[in-house]
């Protein structure tokens, strides 16, 4: 069972959910390049300019660990990364669990598709990232290169979750929020569970519905949890929903 975190955070997102499957599954957690403890040098601006590069990373990971019959649990953008990975290497994946998926965040007026965001909104996000990382580069960069004179910086960094390299984070935001992977949904034959929260402004209900309708084999579960991160706000409900789905499909 491979758990993949979404944009803005790292594998800590799964800390209340993943351990609950460890008795029945081999649980694999990882950080995407640029997030958490990932090797900074593994980032390739070309490869990672689109979600396909992140999907290729997932396939590489699955092959390197020689995993088969993988249950891939992807939150947020990693739901679509899982879709792309399963489309390209279907022989490795048994199930996909898509938590708050969105194949396209931008509205598409030509087709009437409502993703929830306009290009201006995404520019606003990039501004938000820039102003929130203004202090990051000055205060945190010395800790990363190892500042012996200020060891408290290093301590603070290791304690802070969801840290990320600001430049990579910005590009990940662009790759994520400007992506259009609607056509890729039809390429997936792997059975999928779609978990949809209430009041999720990142992946609204209609988007979850869209994903469900365009996948060949999927179950849509509407959760009582609100917001975009049920893995943190409602770990019990999330765990139970995944568990029930996996049991029923065995």
């Amino acid at each position: 069972m491979v758990f993949a975190h979404g944009f803005g955070c790292d594998q800590n997102m799964w800390r209340h959910v993943a351990p609950r499957f460890a008795d029945r599954y081999r649980v694999v957690l990882f950080d995407h390049v640029g997030a958490g403890g990932a090797d900074r040098s593994a980032y390739d601006p070309d490869r990672h300019s689109s979600l396909a590069g992140y999907a290729a990373d997932v396939i590489e990971l699955v092959r390197a660990l020689d995993l088969h019959d993988v249950v891939f649990v992807g939150h947020s953008v990693s739901a679509m990364i899982g879709v792309l990975a399963a489309a390209d290497a279907p022989e490795r994946f048994a199930h996909l669990v898509l938590v708050g998926p969105s194949p396209r965040y931008l509205d598409d007026p030509d087709t009437g598709y409502v993703g929830g965001f306009t290009p201006d909104d995404i520019d606003g996000l990039l501004d938000s990232l820039a102003s929130n990382y203004l202090g990051w580069s000055a205060a945190m960069a010395p800790a990363i290169v190892g500042n012996a004179e200020r060891p408290e910086l290093g301590a603070e960094l290791t304690e802070s979750f969801c840290r990320a390299d600001p430049e990579i984070q910005r590009r990940f935001a662009e790759a994520t929020f400007r992506a259009d992977n609607r056509a890729d949904l039809a390429r997936v034959a792997t059975p999928c569970l779609v978990l949809q929260c209430r009041d999720d402004i990142i992946a609204p209900d209609a988007v979850g519905e869209y994903v469900h309708e365009h996948l060949a084999d999927s179950v849509l579960v509407r959760m009582a949890a609100t917001g975009h991160c049920p893995n943190l706000s409602a770990p019990d409900e999330t765990t139970e929903a995944i568990d029930a789905y996996l049991r029923s499909s065995m």
Partner: protein
């Protein structure tokens, strides 16, 4: 509690009474919000309402906090702020913009803490909201200043690279009976024009002139001397009867130039291909003597050194002649080679000689590339000085015939 020194003043007592907890909450110098775990606003203080223009009735039990944020900030809130708060219990100094009742945006900084119930379940979130209008304007200025600085640095790099190209020959001519190789590497990131230069040009009588030198200093001032040196060498070379005459002309030009501080070291030589290799006539003005490298790998200096060029003291220069036998190479280099540093360690003549020896049977370009590659590698890519190398080789007999 009493005032710090004895009898409480009237003002102290009035301040104490006015600052009861309720008053403190409502009119604190920051906005206070209490949210339920979904973000729904449970309580908002008067300062927040005053800043944003909302009434309590519009917010409390009606709006989730994230819906007050500009959309970009809302994404950041959902993907970073909320998860961080859930995992760490606190989030500090998050920059965001609140969309006020009149549609205006209020830049704020947010500090949040999560309050749990006895079971450890998330019960409520408290957020302190700080008015950050001026700070954000200042940060934006900093950001755009940084962008401008980066652009200026990029322009400087491009300019330096362009200028550098004009100080070095674009291509090295193919010369019958001689094999020539050149390599150049600027100091640091290449944003400063270096003082090293070299040139190769044909003379009237079938001989070729080669000049290599190092102008003291870097940047625009050094570049003017470098340009002067290169053109002066060419001009004098055409009519000079000896190598030292060319360097003397160079010396005079520098002394006459406006830049009274400028000086340089230089090697000048003429090379003529003949039946028994290449005939050389050379003179050195304060420059490291060139190295003769034999095919068997022995390395020795050629010529005698003279004074720096451009100094006011009397100029002493020598003229020397030498022959490169077939297969022998002459290696000209600047002090960026010898003085390359790794920590306190210098690259030094010993390493230089060893590398020349190892590559003795390579072609001229391969020797030049190997040498510069070794020097750059020695400094782990961080070259403090620029490096120029010119290698002249008399082709081995079996190749030339």
């Amino acid at each position: 509690m009493a005032a710090p020194d004895g009898e409480p003043t009237r003002g102290y007592i009035r301040a104490l009474i006015a600052d009861d907890p309720h008053e403190l909450y409502e009119t604190a110098p920051c906005g206070y919000l209490s949210l339920d775990p979904s973000g729904l606003i449970v309580k908002a203080n008067r300062t927040f309402l005053r800043w944003t223009g909302y009434t309590a009735g519009e917010l409390v039990e009606r709006r989730r906090f994230q819906t007050l944020l500009a959309v970009g900030d809302r994404i950041f809130f959902e993907t970073h702020f909320a998860p961080s708060l859930a995992m760490q219990g606190t989030v500090r100094e998050i920059a965001a913009e609140i969309v006020c009742a009149d549609g205006q945006r209020l830049p704020v900084l947010l500090n949040a803490v999560r309050k749990d119930d006895e079971l450890g379940d998330h019960m409520r979130t408290r957020i302190a909201v700080f008015d950050a209008r001026e700070r954000r304007a200042y940060e934006r200025e900093l950001l755009s200043e940084r962008q401008r600085a980066e652009e200026a640095a990029e322009r400087a790099r491009a300019l330096a690279a362009t200028l550098q190209r004009t100080l070095l020959p674009a291509t090295i001519p193919a010369i019958e009976g001689m094999d020539l190789g050149t390599a150049y590497r600027p100091a640091g990131d290449g944003s400063v024009v270096g003082g090293d230069f070299y040139d190769v040009f044909e003379l009237n009588d079938g001989a070729w002139g080669i000049v290599l030198g190092d102008v003291c200093g870097k940047g625009a001032a050094a570049a003017t001397i470098t340009a002067l040196a290169r053109h002066t060498a060419r001009a004098y070379a055409v009519r000079a009867s000896s190598a030292s005459e060319v360097l003397r002309g160079l010396h005079d030009a520098i002394v006459r130039s406006d830049d009274t501080d400028g000086f340089c070291t230089a090697l000048y030589l003429t090379a003529r291909a003949g039946g028994e290799g290449v005939q050389l006539r050379l003179s050195a003005g304060g420059h490291h003597l060139p190295l003769r490298v034999t095919p068997s790998g022995s390395v020795s200096e050629v010529g005698r050194t003279g004074n720096l060029l451009g100094m006011l003291e009397p100029l002493r220069l020598h003229d020397d002649e030498a022959t490169l036998a077939p297969g022998e190479s002459l290696v000209l280099y600047t002090d960026g080679v010898l003085e390359a540093q790794r920590g306190d360690e210098l690259f030094g003549a010993e390493r230089l000689h060893a590398i020349c020896s190892v590559h003795a049977s390579s072609g001229a370009q391969a020797i030049a590339d190997a040498l510069v590659g070794e020097v750059v590698g020695f400094q782990r890519g961080d070259a403090r000085d620029d490096i120029a190398v010119v290698v002249l080789q008399a082709p081995p007999l079996d190749v030339s015939r």
